[in-house]
Symmetry: C2
Subunit: 222 residues, 2 copies
Amino acid sequence: MWQLFQFPLCPFSRKVRLLLGEKGVGYDLVRESPWERRDEFLDMNPAGRTPVMVDDKGTVLIDSWAICEFFEETVNKAPMINGTAINRAEIRRLVAWFDEQFFADVVAPLMHERMKKRLIDRLSPDARVLREAMKLALNHLDYTDYLLDHRNWLGGATMSLADLTAAAHISVADYLGGIDWRGHEQTKRWYSGLKSRPSFRPLLSERMEVISPPQHYDKVDF
Amino acid sequence: MWQLFQFPLCPFSRKVRLLLGEKGVGYDLVRESPWERRDEFLDMNPAGRTPVMVDDKGTVLIDSWAICEFFEETVNKAPMINGTAINRAEIRRLVAWFDEQFFADVVAPLMHERMKKRLIDRLSPDARVLREAMKLALNHLDYTDYLLDHRNWLGGATMSLADLTAAAHISVADYLGGIDWRGHEQTKRWYSGLKSRPSFRPLLSERMEVISPPQHYDKVDF
Ligand SMILES: N[C@@H](CCC(=O)N[C@@H](CS)C(=O)NCC(=O)O)C(=O)O
Ligand SMILES: N[C@@H](CCC(=O)N[C@@H](CS)C(=O)NCC(=O)O)C(=O)O
């Protein structure tokens, strides 16, 4: 059985969990708070980051990109990087877009202000930084609206790792109160569809200590 | 024929160029300075980042990860993400390590202080930031020394995308005077081997306007 080292609001771990859920791969969750820089965790992953996966034979998989490609290569069920080489490049472009741009613009500042400051230093968030992250989130939702005007799913005609990655990041931003859903109907409809998937339900029911999500967070109709 | 939009010191474009060189894929270089945020470039890549590749049929490939996987999938020659699924995960872990950790710790601050400040604002670099980047570079070279004590190449028994990615980032840091080679014999020997490859020679002979590399930069013996 695989073990997944993560914490409830790590978007990269959420991406991996959605993929494993779709593929029907079982795993146990192990709680890891990377900011504590535990020696045993650093021995396993010198980068000190979640997600990390370990199996009974001692195989260690590190980095959500490497982990997702690994399961895509080894589990045939529910291919999530699918289609022609050009389709696959488009899926990976969007995965990188959410992991880098959306994460840096929206998720990282929200996590810093609303989670790390609270948990580690017991400080209150900086309202200016929060406002800026929420404003950038709206630009990103304009872009997903635009993509969904032209395609059924973000990466093309079928559900892919692009959708799972986007949903992972958006769900963390939404938990932290960073998403204003008004006026983004296409993205809202798409996200509602993802929220109702069995792979997403366990994620939506988990809570991070001390921090509560807004009312609508785990509702399929919101 | 492919066109590659890039500038001489973009490490992600260098990674792609090394891969294309090893695989024998031809391409023309198109100079793009992403900080100018050219409208036509933003229309092609809304992320506004290099590298981007375009072919005669209008195919657009964006993001070095997506581009490398594309050519790995479509060109059999010189496989660079090779071996078992576990080997491939290890290669991808190290690619992510250099693209994220080494880039953020070393290359990004060097590029900012020594290139962008100079080109864009005509300011001088901040010595404190440079010192910190150079110090972190040494920690990274300790890690590559450690890996090369146990393996022939960074990612395992054969040359892989991990080596090309590491060499791409290290070469930009070296151009910008950020690498102190003393005391890192394993990494130096490995890097000297890469420098002598035909895929690397054109890169080493290019210059970025205004900024000159140190004497040893393009020498195989250094
Ligand atoms: N590229 C990595 C990024 C992982 C990452 O940034 N994880 C965060 C948690 S969401 C982390 O562990 N940060 C701690 C640190 O950077 O020290 C991946 O895709 O797995
Ligand atoms: N994940 C991207 C990163 C590309 C990237 O950061 N490129 C830099 C140049 S080295 C860039 O275009 N920066 C301009 C910007 O971020 O606005 C890749 O691997 O291609």
